[in-house]
């Protein structure tokens, strides 16, 4: 018995010893390997997050592997692995990746609140010591001190990489001029006139197919925000006595307007089921929507040329024009504008090779590389026009091969490269593109209306970020209030807009909203001089035109 146990124990010990030796051997080998790797000329490897918008044609590959990632990896001084992040789920996905320690080295996200929470949780790498590896960005910082100001966090260090944007509208309403002409109507100047026009678009069969199958407008996904901005309903505004107050009155008017749209069937009554705005866009391109409110315009060429060509395949006589925000009972507002100084990119504090990360950023923002990532290859996707600027050869080919790749260079400052500016993309010898450029110019003019105010306290990316204890309060009340508003729109005669606002006010008081108001006002008092508010945005953008 004893002998047996002894020998089996011996075997066991031997096995243990053996496996330990083997493991040591493996470790030894791998160490030797990395040693040689370091000496040879192999590139460092980094990981970079990239939005997955679900718009890459299957034949082109995936976010991780396609013609542009190959292009980048062939030329870039570092090897890049792209980590796809679904656009609509970006913050959730990245939060989970940070919590599990698997976040990429370079994180690209537009959400200021999210990047702030990463800073507060010490997940970000201060970039000051590494700027030397990105001389292109250093140059940009010298040229635009605002970039440094906005990218610097309360501890005085620079954490964020950002970009200068072109001074255009974030979105603009597109109205069917052919429908207006057919029904003998004018472009609406006020919100009441707009309602009348929308009613006519729904009831008088503007597409002439004998069916009542047209919609006045759309408000699914974020398009509802376009209506809010007609009324200056944003949540916060400056009062006459220079305090930050809630916009209850503005929201009431906006809510009444939306309720009318819903009750009179001027929009798709199932708009809540259209969670990403795709159905509305499809309706518009099929010629079923009279006043289209795009959730956002990221590419003017696409919205004013490509989309209209698509629409004309269905409705050859379609005429589209951008429409100025109608004047509402609360005053005249402009549309939201694209954030002129926008932060996009941070580096993970856990990044193993921050130098390589900065070298990668430097590589992407070199003008010659950004040109290819934004416009494609010369002779294949674009050619030089008579004016010397790149013109698209075949929009359809670009839609298939290029247009989905914009996020790889999302931290590039387009105004820095004259070849990339939106207005030069249009080939004026082509009548469609000439019309597209005119639309863009007309939309820009809306900004210059001296009467118009900015529809929000500030661009949301420049709003102060709440301390963490207020975030919980804000999240909960905001949720409650949004639910109340949704009910206010759909609730019929029993639940009026006035009742919804009264309930929302009560929920705000009860949930601790006063604390948030106090915070906002203290912040305003202390930062009045440096805060980047709506009027500053308008001033800056107007000066660029």
């Amino acid at each position: 018995m004893f002998g047996q146990t002894f020998t089996s124990r011996m075997k066991f010990a031997l096995a243990l010893g053996l496996s330990a030796v083997m493991a040591a051997g493996v470790v030894g080998c791998s160490q030797a390997e990395t040693g040689t790797k370091g000496k040879s000329e192999r590139k460092a490897t980094i990981t970079v997050s990239n939005y997955d918008r679900g718009n890459i044609p299957a034949a082109e590959g995936t976010v991780e592997e396609n013609r542009w990632t190959k292009w980048i990896n062939e030329r870039s001084p570092v090897t890049v692995k792209f980590v796809p992040v679904a656009r609509a789920e970006a913050v959730r996905k990245l939060n989970v990746m940070f919590a599990s320690g698997s976040a990429p080295d370079i994180v690209n996200d537009y959400d200021t609140g999210f990047r702030n929470s990463l800073y507060q949780q010490k997940q970000l790498l201060p970039l000051d010591d590494y700027l030397q590896y990105a001389p292109e960005y250093q140059k940009l910082l010298e040229k635009y001190p605002q970039l440094r100001k906005v990218g610097t966090k309360p501890d005085g260090k620079l954490y964020e990489i950002g970009k200068i944007n072109e001074p255009h509208l974030q979105s603009v309403a597109f109205i069917r001029m052919d429908w207006l002409k057919k029904l003998n109507l004018e472009v609406p100047r006020t919100t009441d006139e707009l309602l009348d026009v929308l009613r006519a678009f729904v009831e008088q069969d503007p597409d002439g197919n004998g069916k009542k199958d047209t919609y006045g407008t759309n408000m699914s996904y974020t398009s509802g925000g376009m209506i809010d901005s007609m009324f200056g309903s944003y949540g916060w505004k400056l009062s006459d006595d220079d305090k930050i107050v809630r916009t209850w009155d503005n929201t009431l008017e906006s809510l009444k307007f939306k309720k009318t749209l819903f009750e009179e069937g001027l929009i798709d009554k199932d708009y809540l089921a259209d969670k990403n705005g795709a159905k509305a866009k499809q309706d518009y391109l099929n010629g079923k929507i009279g006043v289209f409110l795009p959730p956002a315009i990221t590419n003017w060429f696409e919205n004013t040329v490509t989309d209209i060509q698509t629409l004309r395949k269905v409705v050859p006589e379609a005429e589209i024009a951008p429409m100025e925000q109608p004047k509402s009972p609360m005053g005249q507002f402009v549309h939201h504008v694209v954030n002129p100084v926008q932060m996009t990119t941070v580096i993970n504090a856990a990044a193993k090779d921050p130098k390589a990360a900065m070298e990668y950023i430097n590589f992407i923002i070199k003008p010659e590389n950004a040109l290819i990532l934004k416009k494609g290859i010369e002779g294949e996707h674009w050619r030089k026009g008579e004016d010397g600027f790149p013109k698209v050869i075949d929009p359809e080919k670009n839609a298939k091969e290029l247009d989905w790749a914009m996020d790889y260079s999302m931290f590039y400052s387009i105004p820095e490269n004259p070849l990339l500016i939106s207005t030069t993309a249009f080939d004026v010898s082509d009548p469609d593109q000439k019309a597209g450029l005119e639309m863009l110019n007309k939309a820009d003019e809306f900004l210059l209306n001296p009467e118009a105010q900015y529809p929000a306290l500030s661009h949301y990316e420049h709003m102060p970020s709440l301390p963490s204890e207020l975030v919980v309060i804000n999240t909960n009340i905001d949720k409650e209030i949004q639910d109340i508003y949704a009910k206010g729109i759909i609730g019929g005669a029993q639940y009026t807009a006035e009742q919804a606002i009264a309930d929302a006010k009560a929920a705000w008081e009860k949930g601790g909203g006063k604390q948030i108001e106090e915070f906002m006002n203290t912040w305003y008092k202390e930062n009045k001089e440096i805060a980047f508010l709506g009027k500053d945005i308008l001033e800056l953008v107007r000066s660029q035109h």
Binding site: R92, N95, D270, A273, V472, N476, K479, A486, I490, G491
Partner: protein, 318 residues
């Protein structure tokens, strides 16, 4: 008489304890023990180890300090939980939806199983069974799509039919009461066929001679069901009821997330969807962990009390 088995027991116990792994019984069963290991490991790694993470319900969790070094805050998040209207409403919604689910969803498979059991033609029985358990294999995304095409205001099949009969379209999906009915109904439609399988298995174990003798004594179909079928599957029913009560605080995430929309959120937001939206989206990990812990705690209490109740009728599970 009474002493002997006890004495034998005490005689054997120390011997067994001495070296159980050396006994013949152990050696004979080594393959069985080996097969047990993956199961035990699964529960340790994926069910027990993650429970350690629950401590963040009592901490101000942040990425930098991690789970173990984040500062303790005691009951702070539970206080927020029970002071906020929103979170209380969500806990209430969760309970409301799952009680309704249990009340309507639990008897459905039993009724179906009994009805199917009475079908005499085997081909018909098989055919019905296949058709009704097919929906179980559809994902909730697809079922939500079907619900939308059926009940939306414009173009929804139900509203089209209503329109043909001259009725006004009804916003089924945007009114709390009808939404809840659709929610419960779609869950029943999807799962009842599949859940009936276990009852059908239990039914097949009832001795057919019982029915024969009952028939001879003049008992009709209903009497037979009441006095033979139901008592025959009672242990199965109680077992599943206890398990069902244990899940009372859970509403399946997939189902509710895919079906809900902003107008009915007041009634349709449940713990799992709130954890997803607020916990992950807004990085409120500690708050939502507190909520999840509370959910599990109530679940545990419910299971124990359901079992205690069942034990009173000699049907206890443990």
């Amino acid at each position: 008489m009474k002493i002997t088995p006890a004495a034998v027991g005490t005689d054997q116990a120390p011997a067994a304890k001495e070296a159980f792994y050396q006994t013949k019984r152990f050696r004979q069963n080594i393959p069985l023990f080996a097969m047990l290991i993956p199961g035990v490991l699964y529960y340790l790694i994926f069910r027990y180890a993650p429970m350690g993470g629950l401590v963040i319900a009592f901490k101000d969790y942040n990425f930098h300090d991690g789970i173990w070094s984040s500062p303790w805050v005691g009951w702070k998040y539970f206080e927020i939980l029970f002071q906020s209207n929103v979170t209380l409403q969500i806990i209430w919604n969760t309970l409301n939806l799952s009680v309704l689910n249990l009340v309507f969803g639990f008897p459905a498979p039993i009724i179906i199983a009994i009805a199917l059991n009475e079908v005499r033609k085997t081909w018909l029985k098989r055919w019905i069974q296949t058709v009704i358990y097919l929906p179980h294999f559809l994902s909730w995304v697809i079922v939500a799509g079907i619900v939308l095409t059926l009940f939306s205001i414009e173009g929804g099949t139900v509203n089209k039919l209503l329109g043909q009969w001259g009725g006004e379209p009804v916003p089924f999906l945007y009114r709390a009461d009808s939404w809840i009915a659709i929610f419960i109904g779609s869950g029943m439609w999807k799962e009842m066929g599949f859940s009936a399988i276990i009852y059908l298995a239990a039914l097949s174990s009832i001795d057919p001679s019982l029915y024969e003798s009952a028939g001879m004594d003049g008992a009709g179909k209903l009497r037979q069901i009441w006095h033979i079928t139901l008592p025959g599957i009672r242990p199965t029913i109680i077992l599943l009821l206890i398990l069902g009560v244990g899940r009372l605080m859970e509403v399946g995430f997939d189902q509710v997330y895919n079906l809900q929309n902003p107008t009915v959120l007041e009634k349709a937001e449940v713990i799992s969807t709130y954890v997803y939206k607020v916990g992950l989206q807004q990085a409120q990990f500690s708050l939502t962990t507190a909520m999840g812990l509370f959910e599990s705690f109530v679940g545990l209490v419910l299971v124990l009390s359901a079992n205690a109740l069942a034990r009173k009728f000699d049907q206890g599970l443990f």
